[in-house]
Every structure is written in structure tokens, then in C-alpha cells.
């Protein structure tokens, strides 16, 4: 494992990762993933976002070599994932998983642990530890998966992905169907793994969750990489916010000149400016009027706003 990247797409046959599906007899082509170049640094927490049908799941499947790229290839820790050994450091939780319902939680972890190359003694020691970690009690250990609730299946699925202590965790909608308490537990587990240096690649629709957990994100739309960068940089707004206390009515209209947004709540006047100069001028006026300055800061966007601007700019403008 020499590469500095946990995941990287590689350029072959004039393209990065590229996937065309042909449909039926008509052979109509659909570009599911179109020339995506992505590098996920080792030890990072990376979110993959995109609307339905954007190509996220196909991209993840290509990372795991479940789907064969038409051109380009994916590497994990520097190794081509078409080689079985390259997949050893990967723990994966698919989105619409269908775990064998005839197995108990214990059996399932034992089975996938064996497929991951773990010795029996190690599996025996690791399974109860993991089931407890994801919040499944003793009764659940011996209960058939067919009797599990959606949330319990997600938990045992996460345990399955962690069974062989992977260095890279690829999670497709990990908290789907899990209650808020369970989500918090899952987030805690993932944060603990992040502390240990495990790279976490998260594919999720829950933007707030991605914003809360991931340091970096990529947004895919119509199979193409639309945006990539750190959450900090992407949510960094372009404007400035000034909040003043006890602003007299006579001053309000004067300081609001040039502001692109004005609001007032509980005696606090909030002003949004496009430039630093405008904001500074407003502060000067407020200080001149003997008003208290409560806040002077750069505005921030939510990840949802960034996402919407990227995938549907018209809707945002409207």
C-alpha cells in the first residue's frame, strides 16, 4: 500500500473512468459514468453526492470491480481493483443489500469474514465485539436476518463491512432506514474509525449528514464530475454578514444601502453584503451611531445550497 491515495481513477484509452450501458436490441447507449477523474486521499472522509440516476452507484461498483469500465480503471491504494487482492483492504456496504435471510447475524459476519480471508479464531473473537459496537444486542446475534428490521439490517451490514478491519470503507447510504439515535451511533462509529486513519467513502443522499461528517465531497451529475473539493471551501460563502445591536430607526436605512439582505430579530439588525468594503462601511456607520457590533463574519452556504446550485442552478435562481 504505497499510494498516497485510497482511491484514484486512472486514464486509459483516452479516458478516465467511463461506462456505457447498451440497452436491449436497440443498442441505445447510456453514459452512466462519463470520464470521471477522482482522487481520494488516504485517511480522508469523502462524500459522493448526486441526484438519482447521476451514476454514483455505477461509479462505486466500478471501484469494486462489480461493473466493468468501458475505459479507464480504478485503483485502491495503488492497486487495480480488478485484482482480487486489491479488494482486501475494502469494507463495503451496498445500498439495496440483500443479505441471505437464512443466516443469523453471527453466521453472516462469519461467512463474509471467511470470504475476506480471516481465520476462524479471529472471526470468533471479532464478531461479538462488532455486533455490540453497532448496537445489536445478544438476542439479535442468533436471530435470522429475515426477522431483522431495516435499521438492524443496516447495523449488521455495517458490522459486515468492518469485519476484517478494512483500511477503506465504502458505504452506500449507511443510515438508510436507521432512526436518529442509530444514526448518531453509526456516526460515532465512523468518527472513531476516522481517528484510526481509516478512509471513509460515503455515498449518501443525506446532505446534512455528509456535511457533518465528510471533509471532502464530489458531486456527480449525469455521469460527469460536476464539483469536487473540501466541504470547508465549498460552503465558504462569497459575502459578509454584519449584525448590530440597538440600531436606531434613523440609521437603519443608511446602513442598509448596498446590502443584499436585511433582517431584524429581537433588536438585532442583520445585514448581508457582497463585498468586504461595503461591510466595513456599514460597521463604520454603526460604530459612529454608538451601536454594538454583534457579528462580523464571512457568510457560509449549506452543502444543500451548494448541491442545488450545482445540479439545478435554474431552480436556485428562480
Amino acid at each position: 500500500m504505497t499510494s498516497e491515495y485510497a482511491i484514484e481513477t486512472v486514464y486509459t484509452r483516452n479516458r478516465f473512468v467511463f461506462k456505457i450501458f447498451s440497452s436491449g436490441w436497440s443498442k441505445r447507449e447510456l453514459r452512466a459514468v462519463d470520464d470521471i477523474s477522482l482522487k481520494v486521499p488516504r485517511g480522508s472522509t469523502y462524500g459522493l453526492l448526486g441526484p438519482n440516476g447521476a451514476g454514483k452507484t455505477t461509479f462505486v461498483k466500478m471501484l469494486l470491480s462489480c461493473a466493468k469500465p468501458t475505459s479507464g480503471l480504478a485503483r485502491v491504494f495503488g492497486r487495480d481493483t480488478r485484482e482480487p487482492e486489491a479488494r482486501r483492504p475494502i469494507g463495503y456496504l451496498p445500498e439495496n443489500h440483500r443479505f441471505p435471510t437464512y443466516m443469523t447475524g453471527w453466521d453472516m459476519l462469519d461467512f463474509y469474514g471467511a470470504l475476506s480471508g480471516m481465520e476462524k479464531a479471529k472471526r470468533r473473537a471479532r464478531i461479538p465485539e462488532l455486533l455490540n459496537l453497532v448496537g445489536l444486542d445478544e438476542r439479535a446475534h442468533q436471530l435470522r436476518l429475515g426477522k431483522y428490521s431495516k435499521g438492524m439490517l443496516q447495523r449488521v451490514g455495517l458490522a459486515q463491512a468492518l469485519i476484517h478491519s478494512p483500511d477503506l470503507l465504502i458505504l452506500d447510504e449507511p443510515s438508510d432506514g436507521v432512526d436518529p439515535v442509530g444514526r448518531k451511533q453509526i456516526r460515532d462509529v465512523l468518527q472513531a474509525l476516522e481517528q484510526k486513519g481509516v478512509t471513509i467513502f460515503l455515498n449518501s443522499h443525506l446532505l446534512a449528514e455528509v456535511e457533518l461528517f465528510c471533509r471532502e465531497v464530489a458531486i456527480i451529475q449525469k455521469g460527469k464530475l460536476a464539483l469536487a473539493g473540501s466541504v470547508e471551501a465549498l460552503t465558504q460563502g462569497s459575502g459578509y454578514r454584519v449584525e448590530g445591536l440597538n440600531v436606531p430607526e434613523t440609521l437603519r436605512s443608511e446602513v442598509a444601502v448596498g446590502a443584499r439582505g436585511v433582517s431584524s430579530m429581537n433588536g438585532t439588525l442583520q445585514l448581508m453584503f457582497a463585498t468586504r468594503e461595503q461591510a466595513n462601511h456599514a460597521v463604520d456607520l454603526l460604530r459612529g451611531g454608538q451601536c454594538e457590533i454583534e457579528t462580523f463574519s464571512r457568510t457560509r452556504s449549506t452543502l444543500e445550497e451548494v448541491f442545488m446550485k450545482t445540479v439545478d442552478p435554474q431552480a436556485v435562481n428562480e
Partner: protein, 273 residues
């Protein structure tokens, strides 16, 4: 080795859960109990006096032939009826692996695709083999204990039956990989099981056909497809201790099975899920 054992164990577990294994086991047990009750053997001064099977008594000079004939009947029932049931049961076990949400997880593990498919294939063959051997060895012991006839032909017949099942399972695997459908796999395999005994009478069919090209079609199909009828004849001859005229049906069937399995593995290796 861990992964292979896990895949085989998983196939057994699924066969248990789907009641496939236990269904076979119950049928085999019923047949063994039936055999125990229908066989009556009279021993006079340490030697066989009379043997009766299905109520037919024979003198002490022909018990061995009677036992072999009965074993031959059991072997044929197992070969044709048991095979049909096994194909029916196994098609689901193969197709279930390709279910979306299950296959992705299997493929994400550090196990090669051929290894995954062959592990499942081996598990399936072992599930059916366990029941065939249970029935054959069980009835062989019953016959042996009651009559003193301990021929190996009947035991060898079980290996031929397992072999033919393994060949038909290769067809199920190929169809499963191509179309993810247990129903199509059953239809194709049953078609082979129906067509191949008809093709075995190729000399008669050839006489009935007027054109040379249609005779060529029959000859080609006979040459390519597994020779289930001819293998059944070999089984009967082994049991009856008669010389086998030709082993060609076995090795040509083996080639068919290997080619079909290789095609299944190749397609599985190339396929996107």
C-alpha cells in the same frame, strides 16, 4: 481454502433453509425404509433359501441377479426422477447468487469471480451428492446384509449419476449467468434431458429422415449434447456386471460439461453487475 469452505457451507445452509436438502433426505429415507420392508430373505442352515422382493419369490440360484435387477431399477429411478428433482431444486440455488444486492457484496470480497462461481457450483454438487450417496450406500448395505450380494457396480452407478448431475448443473450455471433466471435454466436443462434420450436412437431417426442435412443435424446434436441415455445404459451394465461396450458417452459428456462450465465462467468474469 477458507473462502472455498465458506462458499460450500453457504450453499448447504441455503439448501437446508429452502428445505431442498431435507426434502431429498426424506425421499431417500422413505425409499430405504420401503426397501427394508419389501425384501424378505429366508436363510436355511446359513445359506439363502428363498429371496422375495416385491412379493416375487426366487430360488436360491438367482438371488444375485434379482438383487442386481432391483438395484438397476433403483439406479434408474434415481438417475431420471432424482435428476429431474435435483435440477429443479438447484436452479434456484445458482440464480440466487446473482440477485442484485447480494452479488455486489460477494464481488467486493478478495475472491476471484471464477472462485466464487466454482465454490457455489461445488457446494451444489455436494448437496445432491450427499443425498445420492445416502440412498445408494444405504440400499447397498440393506441388500448386502439381507442377501450377501456386495457388488461394486451399484456404488459406481452413483458416481455416474453425480457426474451427469454435475454436467447438467454446468448448463444451469451458464443459463443463470446469462439470464439470471432459474425458470429459463430449468427449461433449458429439462429440454436437454428430454432431447438427449431421443437422440440416443439416432440410427432409427436417421432411417426415418429423408434429407442428408437433417441426418447431419441429428448426428451433430448427438455428438455435442450430453449422452444421458447412453450413460444410463452404462450404469445398468455396471450394476448387472455386464461388459460396457464403449466409455465414449462418458468422456464426450464430460467435454460438453467442461466447455459449458468454461463458457459460464468466462461470461461471469466479463459481466457487469
Amino acid at each position: 481454502m477458507n473462502a472455498t469452505l465458506a462458499l460450500i457451507g453457504d450453499t448447504f445452509r441455503e439448501a437446508f433453509a429452502r428445505r431442498i436438502f431435507w426434502g431429498f433426505f426424506a425421499c431417500c429415507t422413505a425409499l430405504l425404509l420401503f426397501l427394508m420392508f419389501i425384501m424378505r430373505v429366508d436363510v436355511v442352515q446359513g445359506a439363502l433359501a428363498t429371496v422375495s422382493i416385491f412379493g416375487n419369490s426366487l430360488t436360491s440360484t438367482s438371488p444375485e441377479r434379482l438383487v442386481r435387477q432391483t438395484q438397476s431399477v433403483i439406479a434408474m429411478v434415481m438417475y431420471f426422477a432424482g435428476m429431474a428433482l435435483s435440477v429443479f431444486a438447484s436452479a434456484g440455488l445458482v440464480a440466487s447468487v446473482f440477485e442484485p444486492g447480494r452479488i455486489e457484496l460477494l464481488l467486493s470480497k478478495p475472491v476471484s469471480r471464477p472462485h466464487l462461481l466454482l465454490g457455489r457450483y461445488a457446494g451444489n454438487v455436494l448437496v445432491v451428492s450427499a443425498n445420492i450417496l445416502y440412498l445408494v450406500v444405504g440400499s447397498w448395505i440393506i441388500f448386502g446384509v439381507k442377501t450377501g450380494v456386495w457388488g461394486t457396480g451399484f456404488l459406481l452407478s452413483s458416481l455416474c449419476t453425480i457426474f451427469i448431475f454435475a454436467v447438467l448443473l454446468a448448463v444451469i450455471v451458464l443459463v443463470g449467468v446469462l439470464w439470471d433466471s432459474s425458470a429459463v435454466a430449468i427449461m433449458v436443462t429439462f429440454a436437454i434431458m428430454i432431447v438427449t434420450p431421443i437422440l440416443a436412437a439416432k440410427s432409427t431417426i436417421e432411417r426415418l429422415l429423408s434429407s442428408e442435412w437433417s441426418r447431419d443435424v441429428v448426428r451433430t446434436l448427438y455428438a455435442i449434447l450430453p449422452k444421458t441415455w447412453d450413460v444410463a445404459v452404462i450404469i445398468q451394465r455396471l450394476i448387472m456386471k455386464e461388459p460396457v461396450a464403449s466409455w465414449e458417452p462418458l468422456w464426450t459428456t464430460a467435454i460438453f460439461g467442461l466447455v459449458v462450465l468454461a463458457c459460464g465462467l468466462w461470461r461471469f468474469q466479463k459481466r457487469s453487475f
